[in-house]
């Protein structure tokens, strides 16, 4: 039986879809059977980021409304045999989805895959509830900005109420020089406020944008710093203890981070 992890944030545009795609591929790279589920109905883009848009025939709404079987809607990745995705619907009526129906689909997928990664829509309304309904765990994505942290906090509160396992935090789009100059929220401060375990820090990297545009997520690029960050996150999900990427030359920062993720002595 696999585990279902929802990737959520509250605030829009902080990198949920990017994170889902990259962690999914990184887990597949480690030989895991992975299924990505896009629950962002109406604004689907996980398939674009994955470069799989042209293969979509059926989607999650078709599965729920029994227009097709679950297996028919699953799209096999073009690079990995054991990586699949279940696309969201661009146009169909999203009220067809309910927390119960999505939970049922996720349960089925857990029987076939090691990891089911659920890309959640922005917000905390029905779409959020649906995305969270089948999840065992959650990854909360935020940016080093006060508003994003505020929304992440809100979402963590809601996840705690849902009785999910303690969520893990990914801080995305960090620019080391801005943090150093005090123009961006300090990682340490964010972790102190949100009071959950840090799963990883992803630098702001142009490679992310170009990768998404080509349908080749940055994690495939061995030289990109963000790619390295995502591979490390995947290893931490698999239980390895990997030190945080050195985002700055400042040793103090790194040591503090090590302490936070329980790697320091």
């Amino acid at each position: 039986m696999g585990e279902a992890i929802v990737v959520t944030s509250g605030k829009g545009g902080v990198g949920k879809t990017t994170t889902s795609a990259n962690i999914g591929i990184a887990l597949a790279l480690s030989g895991k059977k992975v299924c990505l589920v896009d629950t962002d109905i109406g604004l689907r883009n996980l398939d674009v980021v994955m470069g799989l848009e042209n293969r979509i025939i059926y989607d999650i709404v078709d599965v729920v409304t029994e227009q097709c079987r679950l297996e028919q809607a699953l799209i096999k990745d073009k690079r990995f045999d054991h990586l699949y995705m279940l696309p969201a619907s661009q146009t169909k009526d999203k009220s067809a989805l309910t927390p119960e129906s999505v939970k049922e689909i996720v349960e089925k997928l857990k029987g076939q895959f090691d990891f089911v990664l659920i890309d959640c829509p922005a917000g905390i309304e029905q779409g959020f509830k649906i995305a969270v309904s089948g999840a065992d765990k959650a990854i909360v994505v935020t940016n080093p900005e006060a508003a994003a942290v505020r929304d992440a906090d809100r979402v963590i509160g809601l996840l705690e109420a849902e009785k999910l396992e303690r969520p893990k935090l990914v801080i995305n789009r960090v620019r080391p020089h801005m943090v150093r100059e005090g123009n961006m929220l300090d990682i340490e401060e964010i972790v102190a406020i949100l009071a959950i375990d840090l799963l990883g820090v992803v630098p702001d990297d142009e490679g992310v944008i170009s990768g998404s545009n080509k349908g080749e997520p940055v994690v495939m690029n061995p030289n990109a710093r963000a790619g390295m960050a995502y591979r490390n996150i995947a290893r931490r999900i698999l239980g390895d203890s990997v030190p945080l990427l050195v985002l700055s030359e400042n040793g103090g920062f790194l040591n503090k981070m090590k302490r936070m993720i329980g790697l320091g002595k």
Binding site: D153, G157, E160, I193
Partner: protein
Amino acid sequence: MAHQTGCEPLRTRTPVTIKGIRDGLVFILNDQCSFEEILTDLDEKMNGSHQRLLLGPLVRVTLQTGSRKFSDLEEAQIREKLSGHGNLIIQEFQSSSVVPVKQEPVPFIHHGTVRSGQVIEHDGDVVVVGDINPGAQVLATGDIYVMGTLRGMAHAGCKGDENAVIAAVFFRPTQLRIHDVISRSPDTGDRDLGETEMEFAYLRDKQMAVDKISHLYSIRARDFRGGN
């Protein structure tokens, strides 16, 4: 117990009725009669009509006072009347009075972070074992104590207690409110949190003031809530 209509006229004006039960005696003190009447009747019964009852072995006595609740003084007077009879042991005064003893509000203890969008409201004091984050609100009719960082909004004495205080290990509130006084976080500049010591906010001449927690007691003792 069987319904005894007929045996005992309802609303009898007998001030004291004595009944034997399996493990003792029940004295029913009519709540329609004045306390004086009861004392007089008790006297009469103890020293006259019911004397036989009072000569045997030790007897437990329960006094039922109906819907009335006797004061300590009144209870003492009744005890005195009975104490002359060595074999009576007063077990208790039972009252069906529903007038509640005025209850002290119980403090509410929240374990964990109060997160953005969450609201805690409580009648009494609130203790948060964790942080209050930006976007979170805690409202208490009494005091608020934060065993962590206060970054959100705290409103103590929210139903009119201007003597309420807000205490936190690290003070960084978005806003503080005590009674009807609202203030933003005191301008502390970019102070290193590591060096702050626990503080509390209170109202001094209707103005928000912040002081070290060690002064809380002296302020409380001087201004209000007495020295006990």
